[in-house]
């Protein structure tokens, strides 16, 4: 298989075929003509639809044939790991992007054909399954292109996930390792930069409605030529985003980090020889693939199904399915996403296939087999079935500005299913864990800072996702994002020197914000922000899960609650507190329920907030999400229940009705016998209210979703190829059914247009009712 050349099969061994329009010779002329006159070298399906490692090149075969010393290869891997970690720290320490400071980045060494051999130990593992795409694109299109070429000291930049990236807010620096005119490897650094010139600041626009709203669309371009940063291209990139200083600073940071890796690579090649170095890169990739197959073989054969339902386009509430069936047969694993809802062509939530797969690799290398080298080999042997133009495998014309909505579900599909796949396996490489929280409960922001600079980026608090409960302990609170085990949530005070808003409440837990269970999920915390001292500022949120819980529990445990955005507009909290410092007792619960600030406009909404102008002192409030709970709540140690109660982590109502614990008010001493009796009663209550499965299915299951639900995806799992979708031919939605390719293009009308239409209808109705004659001119 050769992925970097077009897959063309000639008609037959003798050349001409009567049914063939062109002879072989003629076809070759056509191909040559087409190659020389290609109008646009866009994302290449021959590259973008493949996640498998490349076959050995002839040169790699030659290098490996010279002999492999496993100890030497291990030594090379360790040296590379050291260099990558050093480069990682350089990016983290010097990076201008907030994401860089909090570890949202990665450094890597690649084979000549682009397979990731080794990734820095810290950072975002998802990059290990996506950055082979741009390298293959560069090798295929620019290596022999006279106007570009690949030379020592060159560096390539790209950000567009259509060419292979986690999402469009990330930016790469990919540099070839060349010996004797031959490319023998690549090194690279990639950082979540944030601002990318999208329709909203911060790089992850929830409001993008076309691919051109997604911001910068950099295909792989040679930004560094023979060691020199090209000022013309740099200026173009700076001019294309809101934060030119950030663009310059971090391109230089990445160049420095890559130089550091290259120093080690140069020394290594001098020490061990070019052939051994090339062989070690190749063998590592292959070893990981081989080991993954072996570990799949240790899992029980069968099929695990896990469906997710996402409740938002980030503009309106819908329900779109992310279906997943994982089948294991021996050493073969198939991940089948058939049944997943269609792409929505004017909403930001769609994900390119490569980005969705990258988060599958994240689950594998972070939560299944975290001991393996972070390599393209990890996902390579796993077959992934998707339907092109589903929202997990979006087409070229779909906006992908907030692709994490779909790609994070790729992570959860694998992470959640694995508890069932691995449970009975005697050999485990990671603990049994309930679902990790999977949403970006965070504020993005943009505007003019107190220092007069234009910026757009995000808070690090998305890194405070609640961990899923483990089978033997509670999940950890606000511990780490699903994509980066050792990320940081940043120093708020440091941020406040650079951006004009305060986190008036930060790191405060919200009572009952838990996935309940025998062991509960880790909790998220509340954040309340308000702008201050800025001529123009605004906030955004980019999260689903305000009506349908984003993560479930495991083995009887419950999932997380849902999360609202709460706002108090039309106040200045700083004036309020100045007049009465006792009002600095802020929590979402108190502020929203007591409405203590006179004249305030108190609003709750789903967490898809497009850029909203924040006047000084207006409050924006959200809570981080919780991880899923593990096991039956009635098995939770009563002492753990009263400890949570005493710390105000759960309400008395939860302790009694959910956990069935009886305690002494004031001392929190558990009444053991009364607890045993209450729990026995709660079990009896379950038995008495439960309905036998077959009867329940008859009562509960319907042929279709409720008519008023704007639904997308299969219904059930018996016929996942049959999708349902909501289509707007006019202003009224209608349900359509069929195979994905037979469905009409899905576009959601502007919710403000719908609202105006309803209000106009109401006005006419009232005019008619009261006999008022009004001439409506169009």
């Amino acid at each position: 298989m050769t992925l970097t050349t077009d897959q063309f099969t000639p008609a037959g061994p003798d050349g001409d075929d009567e049914t063939q329009l062109l002879s072989d010779q003629e076809q070759q002329w056509v191909d040559k003509f087409m190659d020389e006159t290609t109008l646009f070298l866009g994302p290449d399906p021959a590259i973008m639809r493949h996640h498998e490692i490349m076959p050995r090149t002839a040169y790699e075969e030659e290098c490996i044939a010279q002999g492999i010393d496993p100890l030497e290869i291990d030594r090379i891997r360790k040296r590379l790991a050291g260099a990558l970690d050093e480069a990682f720290e350089m990016c983290e320490s010097m990076g201008a992007a907030p994401g860089a400071k909090w570890a949202d980045l990665s450094c890597a060494v690649y084979t000549a054909e682009g397979d990731v051999t080794y990734l820095s130990n810290r950072g975002v593992i998802a990059f290990s399954a996506v950055l082979h795409h741009p390298i293959r694109y560069i090798m295929k299109n620019w290596k022999d292109e006279p106007t570009v070429g690949i030379n020592a000291g060159d560096g390539f930049f790209h950000n567009d996930s259509r060419f292979g990236m986690v999402h469009n807010t990330d930016q790469s620096m990919l540099v070839p390792v060349i010996r004797g005119g031959v490319i023998i490897a690549w090194v690279g650094a990639t950082i979540h930069e944030g601002e990318n010139g999208a329709c909203e600041p911060g790089g992850m626009p929830s409001g993008s409605e076309t691919p051109f709203d997604d911001g910068l669309r950099a295909s792989p371009i040679k930004i560094v030529e023979k060691g020199h940063l090209r000022r013309d291209l740099l200026t173009f990139l700076q001019h294309s985003t809101r934060d030119p200083k950030l663009m310059l600073a971090d391109i230089k940071v990445k160049m420095g980090a890559v130089r550091r890796i290259m120093d080690t690579v140069d020394r290594l090649i001098d020490e061990v020889g070019q052939e051994t170095f090339v062989a070690s890169l190749r063998v590592t990739v292959e070893d990981v693939e081989t080991e993954v197959k072996r570990r799949i073989g240790e899992l029980p054969d069968g099929t695990v199904t896990f469906n997710q339902f996402v409740d938002s386009t980030l503009k309106e509430n819908i329900l779109i399915k992310f279906a997943c069936k994982i089948t294991i047969t021996g050493e073969r694993m198939i991940v089948d996403l058939t049944g997943t809802g269609p792409e929505i062509l004017n909403r930001a939530i769609n994900s390119p296939l490569a980005s969705t797969k990258s988060f599958m690799a994240q689950a594998i290398l972070s939560y299944w087999w975290p001991d393996l080298p972070r390599s393209t080999g990890a996902l390579s042997p796993i077959e992934v079935i998707t339907e092109e133009h589903s929202w997990a495998d979006a087409g070229y014309d779909a906006p992908v500005g907030q692709s994490l909505q779909a790609s994070f579900r790729g992570f959860s599909a694998l992470q959640t299913a694995f508890a069932k796949m691995q449970f009975s396996s005697p050999q485990k490489y990671s603990n049994v864990v309930a679902p990790w929280f999977n949403q970006i409960n965070d504020f993005l922001w943009g505007g003019t800072t107190q220092n007069g600079e234009q910026v757009g980026n995000l808070c690090a608090d998305l890194n405070g996702m609640g961990g899923g409960a483990k089978a033997f302990r509670d999940g950890e609170d606000a511990v780490a994002p699903l994509f980066c085990a050792m990320a940081d949530i940043g120093e708020q005070e440091v941020m406040e020197e650079e951006v004009p808003f305060l986190q008036l409440v930060s790191k405060r837990l919200v009572r009952d914000n838990q996935g309940f269970g025998k062991f509960r999920g880790g909790m998220g915390y509340e954040m309340i922000v308000a702008s201050r001292g800025t001529p123009s500022w605004g906030f955004m949120t980019v999260t689903s899960g305000s009506k349908f819980s984003s993560v479930p529990g495991m083995f009887g445990g419950y999932g997380c609650p849902v999360y609202p955005l709460a706002m108090v507009k039309n106040i200045n909290i700083y004036d309020v507190i100045r007049k009465d410092p006792s009002q600095f007792d802020l929590s979402m619960e108190r502020v929203m329920n007591e409405q203590p600030f006179e004249g305030g406009d108190y609003q709750s909404a789903h967490m898809g907030l497009q850029f909203d102008v924040a006047k000084e002192g207006e409050l924006y409030m959200i809570a981080q999400g919780a991880g899923g709970g593990y096991g039956d709540v009635l098995e939770r140690d009563p002492e753990l229940v009263v400890t949570d109660l005493e710390l105000d982590r759960i309400s008395a109502h939860t302790a009694t009705t959910m956990y069935g614990v009886v305690w002494e008010p004031g001392t929190y001493v558990v009444h053991e016998q009364a607890t045993v009796e209450l729990r026995a009663q709660l079990r009896r209550d379950r038995i008495s209210r439960g309905t036998p499965y077959a009867e329940f299915v008859k009562q509960f299951v319907t042929e279709e979703p409720p008519a008023e639900l704007l639904y997308f995806g299969s219904w059930g799992q018996d016929n996942d190829e049959q999708l349902l979708a909501t289509h707007w031919g006019g202003l009224e939605p209608e349900r359509v059914k069929g195979k994905l390719e037979d469905l009409p293009l899905i576009m959601v009308p502007d919710r403000r247009v719908l609202k105006i239409s309803k209000l106009e209808a109401r006005v006419r109705e009232l005019e008619q009712k009261y006999g008022e004659e009004v001439v409506h001119k169009s």
């Binding site: 029980p300 054969d301 069968g302 199904t305 339902f309 329900l319 069932k420 691995q422 449970f423 009975s424 005697p426 485990k428 603990n431 049994v432 483990k470 089978a471 033997f472 009952d512 914000n513 025998k518 009506k547 349908f548 819980s549 479930p552 083995f555 009887g556 419950y558 609650p561 849902v562 609202p564 619960e589 929203m592 329920n593 709750s604 909404a605 789903h606 809570a623 039956d632 709540v633 009635l634 098995e635 109502h653 709660l682 009896r684 379950r686 038995i687 439960g690 309905t691 499965y693 077959a694 329940f696 509960f700 319907t702 979703p705 409720p706 008023e708 639900l709 639904y711 219904w715 799992q717």
Partner: protein, 150 residues
Amino acid sequence: MTEYLLIDLDTERWICRICAHDFGDARGNYKEGTLVYDRDPREIHPPVIDPEKYEFTFSPDPTFCRILEFYCPTCGTQIEAEYLPPGHPPTVDMLWDIDSLREKWETHGGNPEEVVNYGPGENAETDLSARFDSVAHHSHSHRGTTTEGH
């Protein structure tokens, strides 16, 4: 196979690890042997902000989301809690190849009740053997011969 479910490879039945309730053919869907309850999600995830004043409150919207609770009919253990849209068929979440499972355990040679744990680390070591005595009030007779993998 899960925190609360065993497969008896001799009889090829799904068995409750707490009380030995028989959920049915191990080659099929264990949920068919459960009791199910359609839970209003607001009862599990209480509102933090006032539902009288606001649409979005921390409680899932029952017109979008239901929680199906699957109980053991004998001991009342909650085996699964599934979040689904109203009317969506319950998911057949696990279907295992029993012949392959038997072969794997025969090759391994160990007693699954002794060798299966929660993963690496001392605190993940656990006793996953049947707990048929652990819930006092169940009515089923004990099935001492029923163990996973034998």
